[in-house]
Symmetry: C2
Subunit: 386 residues, 2 copies
């Protein structure tokens, strides 16, 4: 893996870069769609390609349970299995395992848990998380971390952070494939000094890239951005930084301004399945009666498949009828929105007008507080194993 | 509309034809996918095009209730609304209205019923069914018929058939658009003499095409084919015949052998959503453990998108995970199977070897009796308003 910074914003921490991975070159900052179970919900690979996705995420926890890493490996690895010839990133399963709440038991060596599918006893350790990710074969793999709930006490966060660092070292040790890039994950809750300690420990291990985990779990956005700032400033400038699980349109600007290069989120596809469309003026719910007779795309000027082929009225009709095509058309639009917004952000950084674009966009964009609140609540509950 | 017969099978009633419609020429015999609510479940128009669909069905009853014919008309008609630039056929809503059971009340003039969506009082008459279909703007529209349950008594079938004929005349009278072809529908239950009377009455009205309704509603298949034979023999050779709602792979051969030119069925897409794939050897359920590690397409040699892009193991995985992409991949395969089987049937008729192909196919194809039974039960229940 190679990473090169091609431009930096003079007013913020934003950077434009170029990441060279085994399955092709990728421009940063980058939004990555999430395909938890080796499929981005409702979409085929060609649609992801058409909307400009370059890296797709999949999840170690889910794929380890079903279909199992042996099956994926026997079928030629994850790229071939899911028909995605471009880059892949697998999360380590840490976040998902810790989301299981009372169904998991942590010890110094790893985590025992019960499968959410059949209740069977399972175990993940730093070594097995790496072994599974090597069988899956993604281009970027993640260290196995402990993600504590954001409202856990300081001692809990300290212990989780220390454990995450030890596990990161063991992941590095366990790695046998040299064609995969293993990223370390910074933890430390909302405590800047723990974040700093976490970052410094990981940086000393010299990972090819660094992720920031454990954010956007219910804390106020302003606090999240302060903690992010207090984290990225301790990460080397010449390595990619990946903010995990954060990716609403307004978040893209705030994270990039703080030096983030890569982001992923299920938000665009999850809200899509509820009928929420991202637009330049904020989220719009296509089920609203206002769209019933709208003989125009959901967003004028949008270059996505949905907006260039169908009227808002038709998409409204599909949602009202709960037709399967509805979820696909909305997912395509929202992912294209996030991907093209990042493309625009990158162009702005290169052209030296990122700060201006950020201001213009945020002034025009009204995030639906209700939607943001619900998504934060969901992530908070997930991080508490509910 | 023009219809031309280009070849006839010397051994059976099978014919190969060419139907010229406002949105392009269509080769017969023809299988037509069903898009009840202006969408073939889970598929986009480009996918229907790619799998070789030439005529798509939509339903007057469903579209009249939602989004309403005024909305579709204001948006430029059904072709534009659903993004389908090829031919469309709308069913009259007769079958759906009669499926409502105790929620509908028939009189000489039409049918009053309650909407299955909001319980509101609605009414369809021959005149309004035609008016709505003119607003929708399909290339082929259907007369408003009364479809009696297959096990209704002789008198009930006689009355329904007489009423269907009277209503057919009123539909013809009500028609104002000359670019749409209105087909009459033969009824008469399982009574050959009623079928004959129905056919003769309709033929005297000189429709551009004739449909056979009220079959495959739970009666034994052998009886269905006898009744079909006793119907098509009273229809003019030079007009297209359309067998409604029948379309399993084995049915295609039996119907074509009895002179049918057009067929539609929800069966391929409905069973697809349950994981049943048509293959040359019969139906296979992709959920079966046998497919878990199958590193080959569901059907070797199949030219559909699903089989040319994904292993059976991946499709199995998607079904086990209940991922939305699963339903699409299965629907594409089954529709391509039906469409390409009809293409093969047509080539065989033209080459004078239809009888041979039919024998070979049926010898190799094992219909899953359970699946057939369930689908017949469903149609039987629908025709009884359950």
């Amino acid at each position: 893996m190679q990473f090169e910074i091609v431009a930096r914003c003079p007013d913020t921490g934003a950077r434009a870069g170029r990441l060279t991975l085994p399955h092709g070159e990728v421009l940063t900052p980058l939004f990555m769609p999430v395909g938890t179970q080796a499929t981005v919900k409702s979409l085929a690979p060609a649609e992801l390609e058409a909307l400009g996705a370059h890296v797709v995420l999949a999840n170690t926890y889910h794929l380890a349970l079903r279909p199992g890493p042996d099956v994926v490996a026997a079928l030629g690895g994850l790229h071939k299995f899911m028909g995605w010839p471009h880059n892949l990133l697998t999360d380590s399963g840490g976040f998902q395992v810790f989301s299981l709440g009372h169904l998991r038991r942590v010890d110094a060596d790893g985590v025992s848990f019960r499968s959410h599918i059949d209740g069977s006893e399972q175990r993940l350790t730093p070594e097995s998380a790496v072994a599974i990710q090597e069988q899956l074969g993604a281009d970027i793999i993640m260290a196995f971390d402990e993600c504590a709930p954001s409202d856990a006490d300081e001692e809990h966060h300290r212990q989780a952070m220390v454990r995450t660092s030890r596990w990161a070292a063991r992941c590095r040790q366990a790695q046998t494939r040299r064609d995969q890039s293993l990223f370390g994950i910074v933890q430390g809750g909302l405590f800047p000094y723990l974040r700093r300690q976490s970052a410094e420990t990981l940086v000393a291990m010299d990972f090819p890239g660094y992720a920031v985990g454990g954010l956007s779990l219910g804390e106020p956005k302003a606090q999240m951005w302060r903690v992010l700032e207090a984290t990225t400033c301790h990460l080397p400038l010449d390595k990619p930084r990946y903010l995990m699980g954060v990716g609403s349109p307004e978040d893209l600007f705030e994270a990039v301004a703080r030096g983030v290069d890569m982001m992923d989120a299920v938000l665009p596809t999850r809200v899509a399945r509820n009928g929420a469309f991202f637009t330049r003026r904020g989220r719009r719910n296509i089920r609203n009666a206002a769209f019933r007779t709208m003989d125009a795309p959901v967003e004028e000027g949008c270059d996505c498949y949905t907006c260039t082929h169908f009227s808002a009225a038709y998409v409204h009709h599909l949602f009202r009828c709960e037709e399967l095509l509805a979820y696909r058309l909305a997912s395509i639009h929202n992912l294209r929105f996030a991907v093209s917004l990042m493309e625009e952000v990158r162009r702005a950084i290169v052209a030296g007008r990122f700060a201006q674009l950020r201001e213009e966009f945020l002034a025009g964009y009204q995030a639906t507080d209700e939607g943001v609140r619900l998504e934060q609540k969901r992530r908070w509950e997930a991080s508490h194993g509910r």
